[in-house]
Symmetry: C2
Subunit: 294 residues, 2 copies
């Protein structure tokens, strides 16, 4: 990543961190254990890719409101999925972002409820902060709920679990990744663009960006899992192959996976260029995601 | 319950059942296991108290839209809380409404994800079905998200867990019940009334109805747990005292609990009468909830 992009990205990430700090209930809110767990997982750092993408998309054209509450909402949604995925009955991960996962730091009951709380809070933030622009609020909630539904994000996670230890075909792998990862990344972009009162065509165009970006993101995840060490990644590596999880690397090999990532990055860039507007930062982000190292 | 009320209630319940049948993804939607679990828990019967209360409230004054999708949404929300509460790491209940609970019928991972899915679907239904009336949609979503948040419904559940096996004072018991049970029952009423484009004062008045109704409901729950048998109740009884759970009966005795239920029913009726409008069915429902047997 070049220095200018690195500094710009850090500025956006800090804005998101401040939004999380300000918009979430304090850790001393009753019941304290629950709110401490919500903040523990939300403040664990991470790259804040979804909120940053959302803000970048909201800046493509003149915006009708501050997207920060929506950016925090999508990070709440993403964080809930991590908390529940880490549970012993699902992926059974003890480590997340280099720290004990939520159920290890607190306990399983608290982790289930903290995840439920963050999921709920995402919608509370949207309905509460954009009540004066109810069409915007309804559009944002529609995008977020649809992307994270049983037919998209949760559906992808379910099929991932169902296919553990089984031979997998390319179509099923595609289904899992389009939904488990791609749906929410796409929602980050469509939700951001909604702040610019977009046309249907513009929304479809940014959906195409999200589709290809989501696939790139997941392919790179699979490559990193196969080639990184735990310290770089902040979570256990080789987890996927250890439990016979289906990955792009398993299906296409490392070189094939890199080729796929390159292809989808090019397609995402092409659509983002066609969208026009103030797209320099978004183009830089897309190009960079192919080369991330954690 | 008198025959006229019984028949009227059955009509409303059938309308809710049809709404669930029509508005939820079919059990054969991919991934099938997940959608089968969602429908399994949603179609387990139950009294449909929250959606019926919502429809009754929507009929107090002329309504601006069909409340059925919102009624199904609140039942999705309620059902997700039952699925997650039954998990081994929370209440560890094998039985729900006379059938194996969701994680017993499927497995824990599916139950976590089916709960997440129903919670998400509640908001998807609201944003999707009332998109043409975005102020109504935003109000409904605000009420539902706030009532089911970490400071209300989930907060009540968390404090309930935290106080298991400990001596409990009346204030903590009140906190648990106001939030774990009362918040969503109150939301059923405020959401229903939102269909009538209410004034702030009317919303506050129906909130007072919900507050007292919620307390009555929980007190009666505690009485039934102490006095019923499992067949009548469709779930294990004596569960609360077995795990030293805090109940009205433990704190006030059976007679004291009955007196409390009577007092709060009277207060709910008084507020519902003051609200006026087409309130005969709502008054009947409130009066009857004190005397329910399961």
């Amino acid at each position: 990543m070049n220095l200018a992009l690195k500094e710009k990205l850090a500025t956006y990430q800090k804005r998101v961190e401040r939004g999380i700090e300000q918009l979430l209930p304090t850790a001393s809110t009753r019941p304290e254990r629950l709110h401490a767990a919500m903040r523990y997982s939300m403040e664990a750092g991470g790259k804040r890719i979804r909120p940053v993408l959302m803000i970048a998309a909201s800046e493509l054209f003149p915006s009708q409101a501050d997207p920060l509450a929506a950016a925090v909402a999508i990070e709440c949604l993403h964080t809930y999925t991590l908390i529940h995925d880490d549970l012993p009955s699902i992926d059974d991960s003890d480590l997340r972002r280099g720290r004990p996962s939520c159920h290890m730091q607190f306990d399983q009951a608290t982790a289930v409820l903290a995840g439920d709380s963050l999921l709920t809070y995402a919608f509370q933030l949207l309905a509460g902060n954009y009540a004066q622009q109810p069409s915007l609020a309804t559009g944002l909630i529609h995008d977020l709920a649809t992307a994270s539904s049983s037919e998209r994000l949760i559906g992808g996670q379910m099929e991932d679990i169902d296919n553990e230890g089984k031979p997998i075909d390319a179509e099923t792998l595609r289904y899992i990744h389009e939904n488990k990862t791609g749906a929410l990344l796409t929602a980050a972009l469509t939700m951001g663009l909604r702040f610019c009162a977009p046309t249907i065509e513009q929304l479809q165009q940014i959906e195409a960006v999200g589709y290809h970006l989501g696939l790139t993101f997941q392919i790179v995840d699979d490559i990193l899992d196969a080639t990184s060490n735990a310290e770089e990644l902040g979570k256990p590596v080789g987890n996927d192959s250890a439990s016979d999880k289906s990955t792009y690397v398993a299906l296409h090999g490392i070189d094939g996976a890199h080729r796929e990532a390159k292809k989808h990055t090019a397609a995402a860039l092409k659509n983002a260029e066609a969208l026009g507007g103030n797209n320099a930062f978004l183009l830089d982000l897309i190009a960079d995601l192919e080369h991330r190292i954690n």
